[in-house]
Symmetry: C2
């Protein structure tokens, strides 16, 4: 049996927040309290930035009812950061880890955060410092490798499905072209979730575009004209990360800002939606063309979480602590796998940090139709259980009155 490593625990959050990221935090805290070898349960504010600045809080002192309420509150309770540690940062972080006798470290985040966790872990090895660290997965983009899906995705996908469901009715009420720009830097999973909005024949989104398929203005306008002439309206869902044939993001043509990981700013601007709406207005001469960019609401909206997502986000937090304390692995990430059963069921598995770090997962080909402008049935089957039950929708039968 592996040795019990005594010491303090440190947990932090990183990258874009989600609606359930605090479930993972609270899962880890509650689990940690069950392990006698874990003494102090500390949180670092704003990820590794808070570690370097020694802005640590004592999570053991938080009252249980309060942390349970915090679990249901969206966005990073500890604050977040987008920062890739330099050599120098790593040295600084290591000093803090030693000074506070941190033997367990947990970092909740996406692929960039897994990379950060790996870098920090490698750095401690040089000095033979006994240390166990786990990455706890979260990303609304659902693009983490080695996972069937990731915590945060289900709730964001639920928001997108509901928003597009309502927007479809709006578009029926006042027909025209409506373009909804949805988050997803490298993967179209979130844009694809808009398909779950469809209830009745003819419901939008009629077209969905993904970063996984090259986007061209010509194809877009041809697709759109076809739908418009059939339905007298067209609802389009577009991933913010759509790229041209060379793999350059369409948005990058007019947005220059990049973050610490070299990613172009795609969110927090309506520019892509307005660009696409401009194409339609100018070239198809359709009168009513509107674009909405769902923006940060997708990841931060309170009280709309998917039940499945809530449960799993809590579980990965608790499991990370279990894996670390078991001592069988020095480091890793917690992955979610789906059983091959008919009913939706998952199991969890530890995976190596490097396997989920840095790179991202794309939508598998079987989820995208041949034309590259819609999802397949396989995607609907995949995504439906993740968003939990969507609201019921009414629809008048519309018995015609005989013309007089």
């Amino acid at each position: 049996m592996a040795e019990r490593l005594k010491g303090n625990m440190l947990i932090a959050q990183s990258g874009g927040p989600t609606a359930v990221i605090n479930q993972s935090l609270v899962g880890a805290i509650i689990e940690a309290k069950k392990h006698g070898e874990i003494k102090g349960i500390y949180g670092a504010l704003n990820g590794i930035k808070g570690i370097m600045e020694e802005r640590l809080i004592d999570l053991r002192r938080e009252q249980l009812p309060n942390i349970k309420k915090e679990a249901c509150t969206p966005c990073a309770a500890l604050g977040s950061v987008r920062k890739k540690p330099s050599e120098q940062d790593c040295a600084a972080i290591f000093k803090i880890l030693q000074k506070y006798d941190i033997r367990y470290f947990f970092y909740i985040g996406g692929n960039d955060s897994a990379e950060t966790t790996h870098i920090i872990n490698e750095n401690t090895k040089k000095d033979n410092y006994e240390f166990r660290c786990f990455h706890i997965p979260k990303t609304i983009d659902n693009d983490l490798l080695e996972n069937d899906h990731t915590p945060g995705y289900g709730s964001a996908a639920r928001f997108v499905a509901m928003a597009v469901m309502g927007d479809n009715f709006d578009n029926i009420s006042l027909p025209g072209v409506k373009i909804d720009v949805i988050m997803g830097r490298h993967a179209g999973f979130l844009a694809a979730a808009s398909s779950l909005a469809r209830v009745n024949e003819g419901d939008g989104p009629h077209l969905i575009y993904f970063p996984e398929r090259p986007f061209s203005k010509e194809m877009f306008l041809t697709d759109l004209e076809k739908v418009y002439s059939r339905y007298g309206r067209c609802l389009v869902a577009v991933s913010e990360g759509i790229c041209d044939e060379n793999g350059d993001p369409i948005a990058s043509k007019f947005i220059k800002e990049v973050d610490a990981h070299g990613n172009v700013q795609l969110s927090g601007t309506g520019a892509l939606g307005d660009l696409l709406a401009g194409f339609v207005k100018n070239e198809l001469k359709i009168g009513r063309v509107r674009a909405d960019t769902f923006g940060y609401l997708q990841r931060s909206f309170p009280s709309l979480c998917s039940d499945v997502d809530v449960k799993e986000a809590y579980q990965v937090g608790a499991l990370a602590v279990k894996y670390a304390t078991s001592g069988k692995l020095g480091s890793g990430s917690v992955s979610i796998q789906r059983k091959k059963s008919k009913k939706y069921e998952v199991y969890f598995e530890p995976v190596e940090l490097l396997k989920v770090a840095k790179h991202t997962k794309s939508m598998p080909a079987k989820f995208i139709n041949k034309q590259g402008n819609n999802v397949t049935k396989a995607f609907i089957e995949y995504a439906k259980p993740l968003v939990s039950k969507l609201p019921e929708i009414g629809m008048l039968t519309k018995y015609p009155v005989r013309k007089r």
Copy 2:
């Protein structure tokens, strides 16, 4: 006692949809079934456009469970339109009314729709056609005259409050400047509702701008810098209808499209948010500046309705039919008034069509602070009961760990 006018009833929806506009429709249908003098209960598809094109449906044949589900579904079940009838249109409409023996007409919409109802009513008088028509109020903008508030506002305000609540946590997680553009062409009621998002000291929105006060770039940047230097972040709520000192919408500087009522297109574009974010990036040199435009989600999001709003929307629909069948008034609109009691209570009153038509209500001065960049306590007291209970929010106490 007034005479019972026998004939058919026609109902239609107009203008921007809301999340509860179908409650009013269903309220009117269910009430109409109680009145023997109303024979056919017809709906016109896409407002007066559907009347002119004789696209009428038989609402009496709809199954009750189905229309009850439809009541809870956002956006105009009958379809909507933005159209002001010309002289010629009025003549065409009158012919249809006569042909189908329409004696009761109900039009669900905002101030423009009240004007349309008035125009149609005036036109029938020439021929001494016995006719009773009522406008049923709805507008998320809350800018209808003679009303304490309007159906649709409470639910849209609830969405805005919840979205900004989540966005405030997002902005705490990853600090920076965040600008949220909120609907409201002439009135700042909806942008003001963002204030209901505040739970803890320091919560955003820190600044709110309204169409009722002149907006200048200089003032905006000065206000913002003050907040930013205090909190290291700033969350701003801006009404899409903000204007310069000359009363010209800031958005009109770069948007040229106008609708049939002469209104500039303000929604369905991220341009205003991006313009304001550009000011901050370029002049204050703040790194992380983001803008989201809430867009059509505000009026169409399913399953988030305010209970109070749902109830009142149903009531105004039912009351319009009661007023019309009572025969005491030939035409009018249903208004919502608030009792001067401590507990929130309303009563309803018929008002003349011309009193609510065309013109719009602004936020009263007592709801806006002196600087014109925030709401007052009086506004919070006014708006709080309209959005119903907001979700509970957790917050870590954040006990600091003693520095070593």
